[in-house]
Symmetry: C2
């Protein structure tokens, strides 16, 4: 159950995330709020990069996908139709002595794990957060925070059809917050009550669903690889018959080898025509697609690749985390994929005085037009390299006194720690070429070796 490359523990990830401003406990100055988390200055950037990479690959680069952004508070009938009001619950038992409450399906004994007291019979506890719209707190004003973004897509199916004139097969994607009043949370940002999802509902003709299901398994695995997660730390796990929801034809999890073991990163389900039929029935609206060739109205089947933003961020952090021997020390480095790293480059002047600092500011202002660029002039250069390693910055550019003479800088590669002297003139395009993984045509004659470091 341990990770491949080294002994990564969740404690190490939490500690680095806390120390470097990736992720803080929410409301920390008030003692924190159980299993709620705030993304710090670097965390918000990595999260934006994950979401943008998903949107680019899943929405913008495809002809058969459009996006949506639906509200968190929806009409209560949505959750009746979806089955969440009646079925989205955990069985709970109370201890008659100490009054603590437990999930019945997590208990291994028939007595209270806290005090040994006698337990009540299990009762169903709904996982949706409840609130009230308007000033009166009664049954008529109950509303729920959505426990998934998916239903916002289903109830807008006809709206999207009408305004985009898409034909089957096509999909709708959405990124947004969801809320589940989980009893058992934990493993850092892996399971929290407030979390963010990236969900696709891909609508296909019945009969073509199994082909598209296989397609999406592969497509989504490839996407996780494309943001730098190692293939050997990803696997597919098919749900057993007894795990499947009653409406699901098939379901796989994409699992990642987290420090606590293989766990779900994304679920991909063949939900058949369950959702559209439910909403058509409960709303009285026509949610069919008119097939112009067959001249008939059909209820599409749907393939649902449903992913967690926070889990993806956690997988990215775990996968990038390395401890390497370096001389007499251990070097901690986040080998983040360049597309995910908060900063792509750091500019490090060897002096805080003119004229070195002037050149450094100039280089910084040129680079930041092309990529998010850090500027760090505090402490020794060795410490600054370590700091950039820990936050996963792919390249460091050092400006020294020689720069004033030769208009060149030293570029250091995060992973190999190799350094190369390079004219400022070719700096921006060399880094762009390295970051994109493409060779760049506009380098001056003989300049290709700048890409070789």
């Amino acid at each position: 159950m341990e990770n491949n490359n080294n002994k990564i523990t969740m404690e190490k990830i939490v500690s680095l995330a806390r120390r470097r401003g990736y992720i803080f406990p929410s409301s920390e100055i008030y003692g924190g709020l159980s299993s709620c988390w705030d993304y710090g200055p670097l965390g918000v950037e990595i999260k934006r990069n994950v979401k943008n990479a998903w949107w680019q690959a899943m929405i913008h680069n495809r002809d058969d996908m459009v996006g949506l952004d639906t509200s968190i508070i929806m009409h209560p009938k949505v959750w009746e139709a979806s089955g969440h009001v009646s079925g989205f619950s955990d069985p709970m038992v109370d201890c008659m002595d100490c009054k603590q409450r437990f999930r019945a399906d997590h208990l291994t004994t028939e007595n209270c794990p806290n005090c040994g007291g006698k337990l009540t019979q299990p009762r169903q506890f709904n996982l949706m957060f409840k609130t009230f719209i308007g000033p009166v707190e009664d049954q008529a004003s109950i509303a729920y925070l959505r426990p998934e973004t998916a239903q916002g897509i289903f109830v807008n199916f006809a709206n999207v059809l009408n305004t985009t004139r898409k034909k089957l097969p096509f999909g709708i994607g959405q990124i947004g917050k969801s809320f589940r009043n989980e009893i058992t949370t934990g493993n850092f940002i892996f399971r929290s009550r407030e979390f963010e999802q990236m969900e696709i509902e891909f609508f296909v003709k019945p009969g073509e669903d199994e082909t598209w299901f296989k397609y999406w398994l592969e497509e989504r695995l490839n996407w996780f690889s494309s943001i730098g997660i190692k293939k050997e730390n990803l696997k597919l796990r098919q749900h057993r018959k007894d795990e499947l929801a009653h409406y699901a034809k098939d379901c796989y999890d994409i699992e990642y080898l987290f420090p606590m073991g293989w766990s779900e990163l994304e679920g991909i389900a063949n939900r058949a025509d369950f959702d559209l039929k439910q909403h058509a029935h409960h709303s009285g609206n026509d949610l069919t697609f008119f097939d112009e060739q067959a001249k008939e109205h059909i209820v599409p089947f749907v393939i649902e690749p449903s992913s967690g933003v926070d889990r993806t961020v956690l997988a990215v952090l775990c996968d990038a985390y390395c401890e390497e021997p370096d001389k007499d020390e251990i070097r901690t480095v986040l080998k983040l994929h360049p597309s995910i790293a908060p900063y792509k480059v750091a500019v490090l002047p060897l002096s805080r005085k003119e004229p070195v600092v002037n050149v450094a500011h100039e280089v910084h202002s040129v680079l930041r037009k092309s990529f998010p660029t850090a500027y760090d002039d505090a402490q020794s250069i060795g410490r600054r390299y370590r700091r950039q390693d820990e936050i996963g910055t792919p390249y460091c550019v050092t400006i020294d006194f020689d720069t004033l003479e030769d208009n060149s800088v030293t570029v250091r590669d995060r992973d190999s720690m190799r350094q190369l002297r390079m004219p400022i003139d070719v700096l921006c395009q060399s880094i762009a070429a390295k970051l994109s993984g493409e060779l760049f045509e506009v380098l001056p004659p003989g300049g290709k070796h700048w890409l070789g470091f």
Copy 2:
């Protein structure tokens, strides 16, 4: 009170937004949910563009700003310290006859506006949405949905200081959903119970606050101009003494000339040291900044430019909306700034058959690598131009039978409706140059006229 360029009504904006897939009523198939809205396939793109433009200008392009992304559900003590539990409320009265409830400060008579019945004395009604964490609904498990993102910034002030080692003056920005259980909502997405904010808390030395306050008034006005909102539709309005919150030294609204009249787009407040002092007091934590020059701990003052994402989207739509006479018809066009338009280009083949369609697909696949690009082959070319005008696509590229001979296409400008024949070779860079507003150096000799249309 009417808009400058033409008689824009909210009905026209709502209708276009609905028809073209910008914005739908939430849960529409269930009759809608009062004043909740879903962003459709084009709406989500315009909203992303607004948020990205803000993040780029306010966070990435500045040395003195970092971002955060804090949770919506925070510790209840946050809202005690901030004053929201005791003070964030509206005075409400009930009709003793018809039982309807009204905002006391909105009434012009002492009787019920519905039935004329007698009203109760006003009672305070808190505007925060309440929910419960965990399975037990009691006082100890109450939590609130944040009514503003700002407090997530204040409670992380020390975390940001420690991890980024920023010095005064510096700011923290955040984009995210907030929730207010408003009694009076309306004007489309202008005031809804669920909305998205873009907030900055900019921390400065006491004494420098008034200078920075003026700076941010100008900076934020310029930002709204930079995304294409006309200067004449923006104005600053200083809060009167009796409007000011008790802790605020000064406050201005940036107002936009919406169809219903001048209304708040952003509030910019000088909040002095109120928030950090409150949280230091309630949490017992040190929330000071150590000034190394003066060798003293100081509580920074804070300038807060607080903007609404949805209001900005609405202002952008209203500002871009034009009806122009065109021959015997009225042309409806959204003159969106290119950075905000959902699609930058549309590819329109004049035939759905090979070989025209092959060239069209090729052009489409090249353009989409550089910009979000639509592909539209349905109905007449005139109708397609109209459709792209209505959704605000700056350029249309038409591929016709001549293209097969001369490798050229017709490019049409949305605003001037001028058309220009252009070789496919220079298409992408010409459009990039037009979109960025910069002349492009790499055009072939004599090619500059392609930028003149």
